[in-house]
Symmetry: C2
Subunit: 198 residues, 2 copies
DNA sequence: GTCTATAACGAGATAGAC
DNA sequence: GTCTATCTCGTTATAGAC
């Protein structure tokens, strides 16, 4: 079991992705350079170009990996969590985890810089949000049918509201260095849907 | 009435600010250069340095002007609008106006790039949100006392929720090229507070 | 796969003429 | 106030040795 499928990602390659991911999430795609990554990974800039032809390709790989991990996490939530409100909490928890690492959501950051991104990166960012909203929508629908969630609007609208509110809460929490800012907003958001007690 | 106080802003200086403001709002502070501004204003980069010593000083001036205009607009709302719900709608309208120009909120954009900004710019960004939230908080308090608005949490918390939700809705609306995305989220947000009919 | 070396360009910034 | 000219540095990227 030495060389399995997971190991298509060489050690260096994944270390590059790890460092670059953090740099995008903290400084933005236009806020760092290959030199920054090289210094931290302790390879030369030329080596980076061996693994990723250019910054655009690196960016694509970052979004792809981030999206896969995110949807994997959502699938794990589906397997373990039973009711819709618990799944919603778990969804919020994924965002809180990112923020705990002093980071902005990768795709939220890229949404701000959207206009400056190469087309393939733009498309990948949109896919992230589409998948995220699709998952939320199904959870919301299910919760409404079970009577555990309550809302008047179409589930797709509420899903969009949740995504944008969480992204906005992350966006503001970082400048204030205040994760509580996020938690308060997120709690109120979820509470406004979970009205099973009424 | 030829040279009055308003004219301390020379024509060129304000044209530079206008172009730079749009560039920050659409591409981010790290997404444009002095060359971009110079080309549009039709002056040389050296001329830009005459008006603003460096990009950092230009950035500060941008936030200061943006904040002043914003607070002026809020003061105008206070003068014309009577009840709290109407003022809230007017507040949302200010954001909608920005988005209509295909732009992100200046300070929302800078919040994303916060870590890369010089300290004076960071401080100015925080001041913008502080002032915005303070205004909202007083409107919320007033609305609650009048019975026109209803919410359980401290007004300061709800104010933060509103700001971050609106910023997030703008953030996501732009990649999707969909202003309706913003309007839907904003309407639900305001509606969840205005429960005078219950 | 990683390196050195270098190309080629763009960035912010300054000096000094007009 | 605006210009030309220039500087210095950072940036992405490539060629080719090891």
């Amino acid at each position: 079991m030495a060389e399995r499928e997971q190991e298509r990602e060489s050690d260096t390659r994944s270390r590059i992705l790890d460092v670059a991911e953090r740099l995008v999430q903290t400084r933005g795609f236009n806020g760092f350079s290959y030199a920054d990554i090289a210094a931290e990974v302790r390879v030369t800039r030329a080596s980076l170009h061996y693994h990723f032809a250019g910054k655009a390709e690196l960016g694509e790989a970052l979004i792809t990996r981030y999206t896969r991990r995110f949807t994997d996490a959502l699938a794990a939530v589906d397997e373990s969590a039973v009711d819709a409100p618990t799944r919603l909490d778990a969804y919020v928890g994924l965002y809180a985890d990112v923020l705990r690492g002093q980071r902005m959501c990768l795709c939220g950051m890229l949404a701000a810089e959207f206009e400056t991104l190469p087309k393939p990166m733009q498309d990948a960012v949109i896919r992230f949000f589409d998948e995220s909203e699709a998952w939320l929508e199904s959870v919301l629908e299910e919760g409404r049918q079970e009577g555990a969630l309550q809302f008047a609007e179409p589930a797709s609208e509420v899903a969009r509201l949740i995504v944008s509110s969480l992204e906005g809460a992350m966006l503001l929490a970082r400048p204030y260095g205040d994760a509580l800012r996020f938690q308060t907003a997120a709690s109120r958001l979820v509470a406004s849907l979970a009205r099973a007690a009424e």
